[in-house]
Symmetry: C2
Subunit: 364 residues, 2 copies
């Protein structure tokens, strides 16, 4: 059978290693595994969310309301936009897929930072598009403009705060790039970790309201991180109605589960969980900064719920990640991103204690 | 912004109307709405499944094991295939999408019966492929062969039992088509409702084991129907490893939720719920057959959990569906499939009582 040519060039995404794998491969009890690899919310599941799940456990046989009327109403209110400005995805990931499929083909190129969310490249390659990257992982205006003028990309991805590096781009700089780009290029502002950046420094807060006036910009958000719903797979895109309508043509029916729909509606009502997540994070990340300084390790100033440690030639990120894995501590090795570094989700106090203990031993 | 040309030609799928819509539009209390439109399992959620959901309500923040190791092991055992022969989708729907994206382009065509599952066409159109249909809704060998020889389609869809008509194709006839088709055409055997057909007449049972020997055939199954997990969005494709590997390139990470993964594993362990679903169904469908005969309405002999009534010129399917909707009874109008008929999910005894009462009034 002859498959489409684009398949020859596609690598599949390497997900953070699951706890189940460590249990299977190294015989470590699940309770002793500390997973700081996938930027899951260390507090756990919001009790209000767990309650919604439990009370609706007996409607798993029913398809969700595919109009997502109530979730769109909740998001409309939260972000001061209309329901027609919103598309829901199985994670903001799926909205990235819709965008890629609606706009890209073998003649297009896409522009992104040197190190950024891996799915931009994978979805673009699925459409045969060419990948252009700037030199820095930071979203520098001059680098983006130079590449933009040279390649006229169909899509520019601005991941802010950036994953897996943790740095962010200020609202001013995001708007400066948007203002300098022609209307035939779509700018994707991926704010998956925006709650953390906005809480740290309001100059880094970018909101759908800042962007809805532009007809070539889409804002992406997710319930997976600050809302602690990674396992439920719900994200969203917010843009002008005309764009949303086109993306809808690539949306499969019932693209989130019945329970996912209900918990996302509940999550929109409850800001206190997000606030508690951020408070824990802000307190605990200081320990990672201090530890790095005390041990002569560089790190990238973080605007997210994780921190990226960068190693010099004396430390190897693959060796360190593998050694930690055998001890039941899962972090994300960044070697596949071309960096000698690791991304560590900021955990609970206890999880971080375990990490520091093992990490100190491994690097000594 | 210039979107891909294929978008001009895409219609979005019209999902069965949700209960929420009837509540909103007609002010009917949710408990008084009878939904027989989406082939959801009328028994409801398996209590063993509801228990799994409740006990895991507090891990909604954790991503699922993306290797789906345990679910694949359970399916391997159930169907006597290897884990490498399996790909999991958010419903078998998503596997259809992977297939379409891996194989189709603007030069290809796909072949399907005159009336069959709507997503075959939508996913094929998303890739710009041409849609070829046979004359009958039944999967007739001669009609398929004639179109196959004429158009050399890249994919042939055999939906058995067929949705939304309810008829089925025997194993003998499925294998006859497969044997007559060249290896460069993929044959998709969509067995979403197979449990019902197999229980009714074993000559209509088609299993992955029947098909795994062919390198151009894929079997699709789902947990949405007989297993009663429509709202959880889990389906699967079973084929030779080489094909599965290509489809994997189009699979997004974490494409089912954490709870969906756990309930699907549980569902593989529990045959009794499927047996009870089929028993209820077989008992209740007789009432639909009897009612039709008594009222001079034609119907298609059903091998699924629904029945299709066909109307003559004295009855109009749109008027009937609309009148029932206002009474809180949701069924599926088949006008958009070019048929003057309706598809009715076989409900519980009480649901069917309500249906017959309103339907008798509406058609009189």
């Amino acid at each position: 059978m002859k498959f489409n040519k684009v398949l020859e060039n596609i690598q599949t995404y390497e997900a953070g290693k699951p706890i189940e794998l460590v249990v299977r491969e190294f015989g470590i009890a699940p309770k002793d595994v500390v997973k700081l690899a996938s930027n899951e919310n260390p507090i756990g599941t919001n009790p209000a969310i767990a309650k919604v799940i439990r009370s609706n456990a007996d409607i798993a046989h029913l398809y969700p309301d595919d109009s997502m009327f109530e979730l769109k109403a909740a998001l409309s209110q939260k972000f001061d936009v209309n329901g027609d400005n919103i598309i829901i995805g199985a994670g903001s990931d799926q909205v990235l897929e819709f965008i890629s499929r609606a706009l890209l083909n073998e003649e297009s190129s896409v522009l992104m930072s040197a190190v950024t969310f891996a799915m931009y490249e994978i979805y673009a390659k699925q459409m045969g598009a060419k990948i252009i990257r700037t030199e820095s992982y930071a979203h520098k205006y001059d680098e983006f403009m130079e590449a933009y003028r040279k390649y006229q990309p169909k899509i520019i991805y601005l991941c802010t705060p950036n994953n897996p590096t943790g740095d962010a781009t200020s609202r001013e700089d995001v708007l400066k790039i948007i203002e300098s780009v022609d209307k035939d290029t779509l700018i994707v502002v991926d704010g998956a970790y925006m709650e953390y950046a906005a809480a740290k420094d309001e100059r880094y807060a970018v909101t759908p309201t800042d962007l809805i006036g532009y007809d070539n910009v889409i804002y992406l958000g997710t319930f997976s991180k600050a809302h602690g719903l990674g396992g439920m797979r719900v994200g969203y895109g917010i843009a002008q109605e005309k764009l949303i309508k086109e993306l809808y043509k690539m949306r499969p029916p019932f693209n989130i589960t019945t329970l996912s729909l209900l918990v996302a509606i509940e999550a929109c009502k409850d800001d206190s969980f997000v606030e508690a997540s951020i408070a824990l994070h802000q307190e605990q990340i200081k320990r990672y900064e201090t530890f790095a300084k005390e041990n002569g390790i560089s790190y990238i100033e973080s605007y997210t719920n994780f921190i990226t440690y960068l190693f010099d030639e004396n430390l190897d990120s693959t060796e360190i990640s593998d050694a930690l894995l055998k001890r039941g501590v899962i972090i994300r090795n960044l070697a596949s991103y071309g960096m000698n570094g690791v991304r560590i989700t900021i955990g609970t106090e206890v999880q971080n204690d375990v990490f520091f203990r093992h990490f100190a031993e491994v690097i000594s």
